[in-house]
Subunit: 183 residues, 2 copies
Amino acid sequence: MSTSPVQKRPGGRSAAVLTSVRNAVEELVKEKGRERVTIPMVAERAGVNPTSVYRRWGDLQTMINDIATYRLDPKRPIPETGDLRSDLTEWAREIIEHYSNPTNAAILRGGAASAGDTQSDCLRNRRAEAGMLVERYGASSPLTVDEVIDGLVAPIVYRVIFLPDSLNNDSAKDLTSRLFEGR
Amino acid sequence: MSTSPVQKRPGGRSAAVLTSVRNAVEELVKEKGRERVTIPMVAERAGVNPTSVYRRWGDLQTMINDIATYRLDPKRPIPETGDLRSDLTEWAREIIEHYSNPTNAAILRGGAASAGDTQSDCLRNRRAEAGMLVERYGASSPLTVDEVIDGLVAPIVYRVIFLPDSLNNDSAKDLTSRLFEGR
DNA sequence: CTGATAACGCAAATATTATTGCTTTAGGAG
DNA sequence: CTCCTAAAGCAATAATATTTGCGTTATCAG
């Protein structure tokens, strides 16, 4: 798994480069799709020298992964309504919301292409969150983490990638309902 | 959607080039992953001049797509046991089997990256097949096509892409069982 | 405030990928 | 068998991407 190198001088100019590169990547991925983005392209859009990008990240893959990871608002509070079903519905809604942003969707697709090498931090986090939600209700929980992944995350991700128009306002509720049938 | 150009002389040498390129693509995709394969690479491995590849397919995406389409055994018989649940279990097993081939898995991942542009023929076919399976049992069918996609195809594809080690011999049965709970 | 140096920018050198014009080979209609 | 020409090969060129050496800027420890 490749991550952004440790910055010994994370302030001022370096930070500026970092954020403008991030913005550039997001814009370009949204505009052209992950496949058609190159490092020189990103550098130009960011108003930064390509060399700086090469030296900091080495290659596009590492860079995209870094950007994607950054994007995940990893420490946001996860839903806590007191009821697992409501929690999951809300959680699913947030995920769908996240991927309704074309940049995030494009980055997910990009991540898919190189998954295996570079496991997506994004989805690992989702699994961790699902674990927290389920375990909150201890042994009495009617669902396992895998069931949540298969029943919510997988369909959402599948649709984001392959059927982008098939998600709507009811999707979170529908999928969650399905998950609780027979429980 | 881009397809291989019509061959006015499909015999002999042309055919040889075609098959050696196909083999080369599959080998390389398996070895290095879709991301790290280039046309010159494929040409060299295939013992073919890069120009021939450029002229026939134009770009990597088109080429991969052509190869992938070729790979999908589109006209194989789909399961028909007389029982929907058995049919679906067997069908899921076939899909998992298909993607247990590293080349097919890598091509799926590659397809994800450019989905949106180029909708995967592969997955469209899966949906058609699911439709046939479900409709075979007419109005009495306990499942909709979407439920089959969400409950079988999505988890399988999700796992193939992001959690390649999580599929095993029981997965088809497990997912299908889950699908029939409460029905 | 100052000095050491991380990180950036610039420019030149390489390497890689894609295009183009022309020549050669060989599929297949007649 | 012969001829026409599709498709492959070859080589030179153009376009892009990557690497490298070196000078410059400016962060941050002291």
